[in-house]
Symmetry: C2
């Protein structure tokens, strides 16, 4: 058999000394500021003091900062440098399999200790809490990516870490829980009997399998009831998106190494932190007129907050305890189908991304999950990496665009965010490969019912 | 809280263009040649023609090559370059936790698509078979590392891949099987009813949980009965060890980047390929008088072929169908305790490593598994990587030596092989963390019974 013996460059690597030393805050560069979060009772803008029981002051100040760049503390840089800068990869073999003239690049965050981009924010969150003398962080986790990342970060700063995991995931995906425990974190099945919220909500048999909303309520309650404990959130908020921008800052340098300018940047959106992390630094360059890529969010057909939601003030959690945030939302009571991309099953979109979308600076498309897994299997069998279910949404749109380029002959350079590996999600591949995966049931009635729960502000 | 803000260098990275382009064959550099394998019937040395039903000619020639360097084909280099050169890491945080003056480095192979060093040989094995027109490879796998690596490699060269997995592992570790399937491989529970060996051995209820010996018999039978099919082995043989030497060749360059010479090189040994891969290039430099590290094999207390076995001709498989190889062996009938490091449960040691050991060029120590997992958990909570159970044996010895350095004040620079991540082995961590892991029962009577099965040659 004739085998192609060409040796090509696959990775565009930066040395540790080339790692960005600041995060990028897009807010001062936007043509108008994002609407502020409102107090759920008074409907007045939330002040820093309202958030102090939940977050350390440094993160609260980052949440409202007008500085374009925020320096990454030395201790955080030191930890990042174990796996960062993460590789930018050229998908030569996927291109060949698609027989496309498009050039496809992926920024791979699966090299982090927890296997996803989540460590980019868990490490600084643990750091700022440690500096302010906090002894423990609480959080919720669904499939477990975020809980793993926070447990890792807490281990490095000597913090305790207590995680409420959605009951259904706790039962079905024991390996994620075990990884959190290997890092020294403590995991509770939610609803638990450790909190008032858990006991109250758990009394209803319908709630026994849990939800992110319930788990958030438990983690928040555990944090606010002890002054040495704080809460940590893995997406949605401005400071979380800020920490992720190191992805895009690195990718800008790496695309320059590759000598290519992306015509399309595509990332998956759940809460939005992975997407913002890759795209905001490119959007800065685009707003400055230096490059002109399309910027595209890939969302699941089951939970399409950007393409099917409305832009309105809504609660961040199901129980309605958080501040009201102006965002694209399907309604805080909306419960999406139990698709395999658990990280994308959030009723709202990060307020900052929602604002950028309203400003017309980006696009969004929804993708059904079987198309995502078809792309994922093709990717695994050519590029050798089994992606987490979440980034398969972006891969599916990358494949669509690469095939379009084959038709039109238009020069297409795709950059996608491969935000994590799928080592703990192989049951989803099993379902797909053995014909047991169905596309989401998408009904306008269900969307309408969810939208009806959005409060009038 | 005072947080150390020092930014240190953690990774010593080579660019793709600095990747070694040849494998190192230690045989011509040894003071005497290793004894040849013998035909099980005639006890005469095995000739290339005896191996042709099993392996492609290129690999058979590598098995007996006297060339010091064998060029890596372009197509193999091209695939290696996706994740190679792999990182050499300095374990700053582990050093600090141990409060040791020793400097600890680890060469991390978990960045490969299959998560271990096994892809270093699965890719060239698939390549040489593809070039010679083979359409399918068969193999056995225990816990699944090797099966995953071979399925990945076969996917890239358009080969089918058929894997017989030890029944007990097939039942207990579904995620490894799912990963093989995601790469397009086919997995059978062994003993299966697809082969004569499987039907015959499977008829005995005692064999229902399977063994590597039975799985090898099935994979070999499936290969030899079809001229377009060959068999692939993941360790033990000379050509497999050869392919792994890229690890040590890279590490030599990376230790030079770090400006350090190791005083101790320690790797785990099952079949021996990971250990040989790291240590043989350093041994070349040691034999040339350029450096003088101790070279130490870490083996499990349950299966200590170097420290408790004898150096004799024995079969590679339990059924006694393979050529006789001169090696350190506990006897081909020896069944080790079901420890969590499945990759180290092999009755023999690679003939080439056995020969090097007999020549006095290396040392070996056996380690009980709870000491390994204690080291692994400390490593995970400081370095952020959850190691596979196999390399925890080397980590445990690295920790022993680092603590010794603290006592003696002797300058100690440790280089260890972290040959894979433990994402699919978290049940072992669960057992350790929750007090359900016991050390191996090591009885001289059992060792004696195994040794009694070694044939008289």
């Amino acid at each position: 058999m004739a085998v192609d013996e060409t040796v090509r460059q696959h990775k565009f690597l930066l040395d540790e000394s080339q790692m960005p030393t600041a995060w990028y805050n897009i807010i001062p560069d936007l043509p108008e500021p994002p609407p502020p979060p409102l107090h759920p009772g008074t409907h007045e803008p939330v002040g820093p003091e309202d958030l102090m029981p939940l977050f350390p002051m440094a993160l609260i100040m980052q949440e409202v900062s007008q500085d374009r760049y925020i320096e990454i503390p030395g201790a955080v840089q030191d930890i990042y440098r174990q796996w960062r800068p993460s590789p930018l990869m050229r998908a030569h073999r996927l291109e060949k399999a698609l027989d496309t003239p498009a050039r496809i690049y992926y920024k791979y965050e699966g090299v982090s200790p927890a296997g996803s981009h989540k460590t980019n924010t868990s490490v600084p969150q643990a750091y700022y809490n440690a500096v302010e003398g906090i002894s423990k962080l609480t959080t919720e986790t669904g499939a477990g990516q975020w809980g793993t990342a926070l447990a890792f970060a807490c281990a490095l700063f000597g913090l305790e870490c207590e995680v409420w995991q959605v009951g259904a995931s706790y039962d079905a995906k024991p390996y994620r829980r075990l990884m959190i425990e290997a890092f020294g974190g403590e995991v509770h099945r939610s609803p638990s009997d450790l909190t008032n919220a858990g006991r109250m909500l758990g009394a209803n048999p319908a709630n026994q399998s849990g939800s992110l909303g319930i788990a958030i309520s438990e983690a928040v309650e555990a944090a606010v009831s002890d002054p040495t404990v704080r809460y940590a959130l893995g997406s949605v908020l401005n400071h979380v998106l800020l920490h992720q921008t190191i992805i895009g800052e690195e990718a800008l340098k790496q695309m320059a190494m590759a000598g290519d300018d992306p015509t399309l940047i595509v990332g998956c959106t759940g809460g939005g932190s992975n997407f913002a992390g890759l795209s905001f630094p490119f959007l800065r360059e685009k707003m400055a007129g230096k490059i002109n890529p399309r910027i595209l969010a890939a969302e699941p057909a089951s939970c399409p907050s950007l393409t099917h939601g409305v832009y309105a003030y809504d609660f961040g959690d199901t129980a309605g305890m958080t501040p009201l945030m102006k965002m694209h939302t399907l309604g805080h009571d909306f419960v999406p189908d139990p698709i395999h991309a658990g990280g994308l099953r959030y009723h709202g979109m990060a307020p900052l991304i929602s604002h950028v979308y309203e400003l017309g600076l980006m696009e969004a498309q929804a993708v059904p999950q079987t198309e995502c897994f078809a792309a994922a299997v093709q990717f695994a069998r050519t590029e050798g990496i089994v992606p987490a279910p979440e980034p398969t949404h972006a891969l599916a749109l990358a494949v669509r665009e690469a095939l379009k380029a084959k038709e039109t002959g238009e020069e297409t350079v795709i950059l996608t965010a491969l935000c994590g590996h799928g080592h703990f999600d192989l049951a989803a591949y099993d379902a797909y490969l053995n014909g047991r995966m169905e596309d989401e049931a998408v009904s306008e009635e269900r969307f309408a019912a969810g939208l009806a729960t959005i409060p009038v502000v």
